[in-house]
Amino acid sequence: MDIATQDTPPPTPQPTEAERKRAARGATRPGDRVFLGLARGSGIFLLAIMTAIAVFLTWRAAIAISKNEGNFLTTFEWNTGTQPPVFGIAVLAYGTVVSSIIAMAIAVPIAVAIALFITHYAPRRLGGPIAYVIDLLAAVPSIVYGLWGVMVLVPQMNGLFGWLNDYFGWTGIFSWEEGAPRSMLTVGILLAIMILPIITNVSREVFNQVPQMHEEAALALGATRWEVVRMAVLPFGRSGVISASMLGLGRALGETMAVAIVLSPDFLIHGSLLDPGGGTFAQNIAAKFPEADEFGRDALIASGLVLFVITLLVNGAARMIIARRKEYSGANA
């Protein structure tokens, strides 16, 4: 490099007005346009699929419901083979919601605790393997959980059920007449185990994202480790944990084979969580589908539509909760 050229730097070309505008708008080069088109196309494609599913469900459901003798929402019966057919989703809706609530009540605190332990308490050497094992749990097919549930978990529940009945039987929801412990509570516990990995996993990722500065600032103010977790980690991770819980809830609401294997279903709503009986949408579909005739399948599709609506409502509610807590989202960290 010689000195002469250094003395007179080449004049940088001034961008024209139009170029400046375009730069501000972004997305002008062909690559950007193609990417925009692909992304938009995928979005529209997804909407189209969802609409198609909704239309199909509604159409088939309408056929079935129009021939239903019972009230679709309140009948405690599912008999599509009789003339006239009688079926209702009351028991299924109740069972689906109750088993999912039990699963969430058990799984969320444990999952958050595990995630906190892995990210903030455990020595790295221990945290890694624990995270790994939790990840593996997510890879086990649900039918394996079902078989494990019926062969290992159900016989073990006798003790717990007896204890609950002895001490909390007076509440009514924990009263138990001797019987096989294949109840909503057993299902809830099994579902809790099944949704634990996904909640733990996502929560762990979120807790890992907490800005070091927040934690250090809290420590500098003299906070103990628990206070750091309470003041910096949990508030930051709250929306993430809610999202994680919703993923878990989605799995719990739709779980099919494990529930079908473990539950002892009937079409009654039981006051006690320990009484065998009840049912869930997905379990009922799995149980009735193979032998159902065309009308029976339409009726099952109608019940599936209700599950679809419940899932939409739950996800919508979760979005609203997360939107209200925007200030803690990763965007402004």
């Binding site: 086990v140 001797e178 002892s264 149980a287 589908f289």
Partner: protein, 373 residues
């Protein structure tokens, strides 16, 4: 940081490998039904199977109750005739639906075609209709788990009252009366039924509503209609539940009740009847043909008092077109059905806990098969 990322990738790979292995084993365990084929006879019998023009592939679907029998037959037949027969045990409903859509050459079903299903089948069978050919029988055993009680005898009204919840404990007077010598405990009765819809339930409830009319008011059907009781999925699920629960009783196909105590039924015959292949065949012999034309749908006499005839008996059918079968599958269907209705085909059934169809009925089945077009 970098090290950690690497670790994570290794973990992901490990997880994929592990889940892959699980998925593979899950697939592998699917067709355990094949193991009942009876290997020793596989080659010995092959010579007597007439293949005629059988060739290529055959699709079939239907009743899972007869899947083990079909699998055993297919093993023999395809070894002799170089034909692939794929019977999916997707359930009777699925089988009939597939048959009426024309996607399978024949269907298996636990119950005979309904009139509207026959009407629909005329679309697929040009110039003919779907017909039922009884091919496999079986006893529906009542298995129980009551400590110290080995030879339980029950009659239809008592069974109806047990399954409808009116009889609550094992030392109930009605049970005592039928079992004067047994030491019946005061354990609560846990009656289990199928949680899925099933031809077994259909047959069992038909038995109850026929043989115990005044005690069973819930009608019959594939779905269990009586309130209360407990439920489990599939015959295997019921077997599991009965083994696990003290005081339990349930109904299931006989092959699932092999290592459990089963109820002998007091039918009014000279002595109570146990569920076996022979006693089921004896009950089918007491059945009458109710199908019209070439249709050989049977009506089991649930009130049978014949000696050694077990009343809760299930007949499963193969459903084909009497006329208008597809030209490309007809020779194969005919050859296969001819084989399974033959003495040799029926003879295999007892070894795998099914009941052969009695002679005079199977003779009619053979004539009908010969006339398929």
């Amino acid at each position: 940081m970098k090290l950690q990322r690497k670790n994570r990738r290794a973990l992901a790979l490990g997880a994929i490998a592990f889940s892959g292995a699980l998925a593979l084993t899950a697939c592998g365990s699917d067709d355990t039904g094949n193991s009942n084929g009876g290997d020793s006879t596989a080659t010995a019998n092959a010579g007597s199977i007439k293949c005629d023009d059988a060739k290529g592939q055959l699709l079939a679907d239907g009743s899972s109750a007869q899947k083990n029998a079909i699998d055993a037959w297919v093993k023999q037949f395809s070894a002799a005739c170089q034909v692939q027969i794929n019977y999916k045990g997707g359930g009777s409903g699925a089988g009939i639906t597939a048959f009426n859509q024309g996607t399978v050459a024949f269907a298996g079903s636990d119950s005979a075609l309904k009139p509207e299903e026959i009407t629909e089948s005329k679309k697929v069978c040009s110039g003919g209709q779907g017909i039922d050919l009884p091919m496999v029988g079986g006893a529906v055993a009542l298995a129980y788990n009551v400590e110290g009680v080995d030879n339980l005898v029950l009659d239809a009204p008592t069974i109806a009252n047990i399954f409808s919840g009116k009889i609550k404990t094992w030392d109930d007077a009605a049970i005592k009366k039928l079992n004067p010598d047994a030491k019946l405990p005061s354990t609560k009765i846990q009656a289990f039924h199928r949680s899925d819809e099933s031809g077994t339930t259909d047959n069992f409830t038909k038995y109850l509503s026929t043989a115990a009319k005044s005690d069973w008011t819930y009608g019959d059907g594939k779905a269990w209609a009586a309130p209360g009781g407990q439920a489990a999925s599939g015959s295997s699920g019921l077997a599991q539940a009965v083994k696990q629960t003290s005081g339990a009783i349930s109904y299931m196909e006989e092959s699932y009740a092999k290592d459990m105590s089963t109820v002998a039924i007091d039918t009014g015959a000279s002595e109570p009847v146990k569920p076996t292949s022979d006693s089921a065949t004896a009950a089918i012999a007491d059945a009458k043909v109710v199908g019209t034309g070439k249709d050989l749908a049977l009506e089991i006499n649930y009130n049978t008092k014949a000696d050694g005839a077990y009343p809760i008996t299930l007949v499963t059918y193969e459903i084909v077109c009497d006329k208008g079968n597809k030209a490309e599958t007809l020779p194969t269907v005919k050859a296969f059905l001819t084989y399974i209705a033959s003495e040799e085909g029926q003879g295999m059934l007892a070894d795998i806990s099914y009941a052969p169809i009695p002679d005079d009925i199977i003779a009619k089945v053979r004539t009908t098969i010969a006339g398929l077009s």
